[in-house]
Point group: C2
Chain length 271, copies 2
């Protein structure tokens, strides 16, 4: 059984998608055809969309689900005439919120992902550039500026996590790979020592690490299970010895790793 | 007037935040203190959170807004006893969806940002690595693999856009800076020619570009308004001559640039 689900917005559609995907994930037995339609910001586009929804309804033989975050009442009214099951997100919650806050909604479009939240937007872009410039131990002289320094074995997930923390939260995160040479010394790399309170460690199951490394450098010493086991064991010992908070990333997505780091470190989103 | 808003989840909290921020953005006159509390996955954490909400209510003199995407009914019930205005996202929409779909929700936690959506998650991480490896024209030999090649002047927003497209949609996006030498030739750079159908151009107001460049290299020729005007003029001419679709990014966030590229090119999220 296939069912079409539309995610509709007068802005980017990211909020409608986020909520719609979260709700649909609860219905594992049903296969959904997902269609995101952003920037429905005039009545003509709304009418074209109604035709598209009605056509999907005919083809599927069942009415599509329609998740929308459209702010404009007139456009929402047009959409509501489509042959779909409407999950009208703003329509459901804005009215009760207006009453509770004793304030009227500005009914303005595309607020939440716009550049107009200027300070916070620029901070996020700066944070992305910071993550790129201070990736993989390339430079250590800007660690004073960092909010966070992620450490861990090569390919344990440091770089994507730093980029996600930057884009989502505006966190300036550098990362530094712990290499075998660092471990042989049995002490923390010199560049990290002055910034101990900013360190957060990643670790990972050696089997998973070996799989990931093999994609980059097949059949090398670097990718061998033995080498991965050795590095991870030594790295976890160092985290414990130096009392560095750490997380095993094996079962987690970058979103989960990032939100768990935010909770553990107490870092706050930059706004 | 300050009002506290809680975003609560048994998973990452990203969905509750996305919806909550979108709704609160409609109330510009009110200052919100925003608190995200992810991973509320047992009753003890739920009771601690109720105390925290009640305390905020006392301090503010008004009950906080509570946006939650908690799936577990027992935990949601505990939260509902707090002295807050409840925006119960799953409670509101899951029941009607169950009826419409004639299927029961699995009531499983943290589905939408987990690694278990395995194919799609790995694709996103590969796409991030692809963006990093093929950033800034560093390598052009993998363009066969690219879904998209962003082109434009240095500092027109190519890199953050490629990273966002990778993390959000699993799109493999390379980027290539159009330099003065390319423009003097009056023809498209050789590395791009075989991939014309994958090209998407970014442009930007010269004033804005000069500001951004000045942050990197103050008072240089590269950052001068005259230079920026010259490059942008030539680049836009090239886009028109070669019929490359393009977007002026000046007023747009990376989220807006990315969603507009998705619409224009017809690229689809990898699932």
């Amino acid at each position: 059984m296939k069912r079409t689900a539309f995610f509709i917005s007068d802005g980017t559609g990211l909020t409608a998608e986020a909520l719609g995907h979260a709700l649909l994930a609860q219905f594992e037995k049903i296969e959904f055809e997902r269609v995101t339609v952003p920037y429905i910001d005039d009545e003509e586009k709304a009418r074209d969309l109604v035709s598209r929804i009605n056509k999907a309804s005919e083809i599927d033989g069942e009415r599509p689900l329609v998740f929308d975050t459209i702010v404009n009442g007139g456009i929402r009214e047009i959409i509501s005439r489509a042959d779909g099951f409407m999950v009208d997100i703003f329509g459901t919650f804005l009215n009760p919120l207006e009453q509770e806050l004793n304030s009227s909604s500005s009914y303005s479009v595309g607020k939440s992902h716009s550049i107009n939240n200027a300070g916070s937007y620029e901070r996020r872009i700066h944070a992305v550039n910071f993550a790129l410039d201070n990736d993989d131990g390339a430079r250590t002289r800007h660690y004073d500026e960092a909010d966070l320094i992620l450490i861990g074995a090569s390919r344990s997930g440091k770089t994507p996590t730093c980029l996600y923390l930057a884009l989502q939260y505006g966190i300036k995160a550098a990362n530094y790979p712990i290499t075998e040479e660092d471990l042989d010394d049995q002490k923390m790399p010199a560049a990290l020592r002055p910034h101990k309170e900013k360190l957060f460690g990643l670790t990972i199951e050696p089997e998973r690490l070996a799989t990931i490394r093999n994609e980059r450098r097949p059949n090398s010493r670097y990718s061998s299970l033995q080498q991965c086991m050795h590095e991870i064991e030594e790295i976890e010992l160092m985290y414990k010895r130096e009392r560095i908070p750490y997380l095993n990333t094996t079962a987690y997505s970058v979103e989960e790793i990032s939100t768990r780091i935010m909770v553990t470190t107490g870092l706050k989103r930059h706004r």
